[in-house]
């Protein structure tokens, strides 16, 4: 099975994330900051983002759930989320946060609740995509690949990988 083909599939998958607007140019910046001396940089930043976001979303949910909503607090959380999503290039999350802040200013609870829902959806969506991206990227890591080839079932693993890449490349295009 051709390595070049698999890499191209991975590139297509990555491209689709940009085309869908899930990721923006800032993500490219992160990739450019990654090199041999810092091979895990993007993964580390994204991982921090996931941890941070889970906490933020919990706090947000709790804050919005109060009898009397403290909008200043809610705004602070959304501001943070806007910042962190912007820093990693998670464009759709950032955009929902911008809208969210508008409704916070208006103290429009219904709209805020809708935004909270939406921001969660966007978060889980991009999280799933990025996790796939990293999983597949690590499988294509030359060292891992070499190990797979040594294994008697090496060919099977590779063909499975191709199918997997095909599947994800196609599903993202269906969205």
């Amino acid at each position: 099975m051709e390595l070049g083909l698999m890499q191209r599939r991975l590139e297509d998958y990555t491209k689709s994330l940009f085309m869908e607007g899930l990721l923006d140019a800032q993500f490219l910046q992160l990739q450019q900051l990654q090199d041999e001396s810092n091979p895990g940089f993007v993964g580390e930043v994204v991982s921090l983002f996931f941890d941070d976001s889970e906490k933020l979303l919990n706090e947000l949910t709790s804050a919005m759930d109060q009898q009397i909503v403290d909008f200043r607090k809610v705004d602070s959380y959304v501001h943070q989320f806007k910042g962190s999503s912007s820093s990693i290039g998670a464009q759709r999350i950032k955009n929902v946060c911008i809208l969210f802040r508008k409704y916070i200013e208006e103290q429009n609870i219904e709209a805020c609740l809708r935004c909270l829902q939406q921001v969660k959806q966007e978060y889980y969506h991009v999280k799933s995509k990025l996790e796939t991206l990293f999983r597949v990227t690590s499988l294509l890591n030359p060292i891992v690949l070499k190990e797979n080839l040594k294994h008697p079932l090496g060919t099977d693993s590779l063909s499975n990988l191709c199918q997997w890449l095909d599947y994800f490349a196609n599903t993202s295009l269906l969205l």
Binding site: D24, A25, Q32, F41, L48, F49, D52, G83, S84, S86
Partner: protein, 222 residues
């Protein structure tokens, strides 16, 4: 080849992600970096004392004769921070006789003209819109060079020749927190600068005038 790094930047941001980012950006640009998560920690690191503006010798490896603990050539700080904002920090630095010569750059996720002008009026050298990019890093060097004690000859950015200094730089790295991990610069500067140049070519900069910076819309790349 180990190159002696010339410039030390103190980065202040309450966001862990942004600290990681700015640290990487600065290190990629061959600066030494220390990160702290608040304005008060920044002042502490700088040895700022409200009463007498003299540094204390709380840090072990300091010679008693040095006023400031570590030489800092530039401070880059987030604007929006709980407690002491970046603006408050800027003010304190500019009001301090020992610290006012250190150039300060403000970063903000919000493009508010009045905020920008307020910071510049208070003495900030630059106002960066977040997320900060690699291309922004080149704007830091001119400000840092001015802080060196001897008059600077203009030199190309790509060649980091060791400059002569009247005072030796204090090389002690003080860990303020676990994430200000400092590694001696072992990567060659040429590869950094080549990559940096390539990056700057690849990314079409939306730089018109940066002072004040009103641009900064992020475009989706394909």
């Amino acid at each position: 080849m180990e190159v002696k790094s010339q410039f030390h930047v103190l980065a202040v941001d309450d966001s862990l992600i942004d600290r990681k980012l700015i640290e990487r950006l600065l290190k990629t640009s061959s600066y030494q970096v220390t990160t702290v998560d608040s304005g008060s920690k920044a002042l502490e690191f700088l040895g700022f004392r409200e009463e007498d503006e003299q540094s204390s010798s709380d840090y072990p490896s300091i010679s008693p004769s040095s006023q400031r603990v570590v030489e800092v050539n530039l401070i880059i700080t987030d604007y929006c921070m709980p407690g002491m904002t970046g603006y408050d920090l800027l003010k304190k630095i500019k009001e301090s006789s020992s610290l006012r010569n250190i150039p300060v750059v403000i970063m903000s996720s919000e493009n508010v003209p009045s905020r920008v002008s307020r910071c510049l009026e208070e003495g900030a050298e630059e106002f960066f819109l977040k997320p900060v990019k690699l291309s922004d890093m080149s704007r830091l060097r001119p400000h840092m060079k001015r802080t060196k004690l001897i008059p600077q000859k203009p030199e190309p950015e790509k060649d980091e020749k060791q400059e002569e200094e009247l005072e030796p730089e204090n090389k002690h790295q003080i860990q303020q927190q676990s994430n200000s991990n400092y590694h001696p610069q072992t990567q060659s500067n040429t590869s950094n600068n080549k990559r940096k140049a390539a990056v700057e070519e690849a990314i079409s900069p939306d730089i018109t005038t940066r002072r004040p910076r009103y641009s900064g819309g992020v475009t989706t790349a394909v």
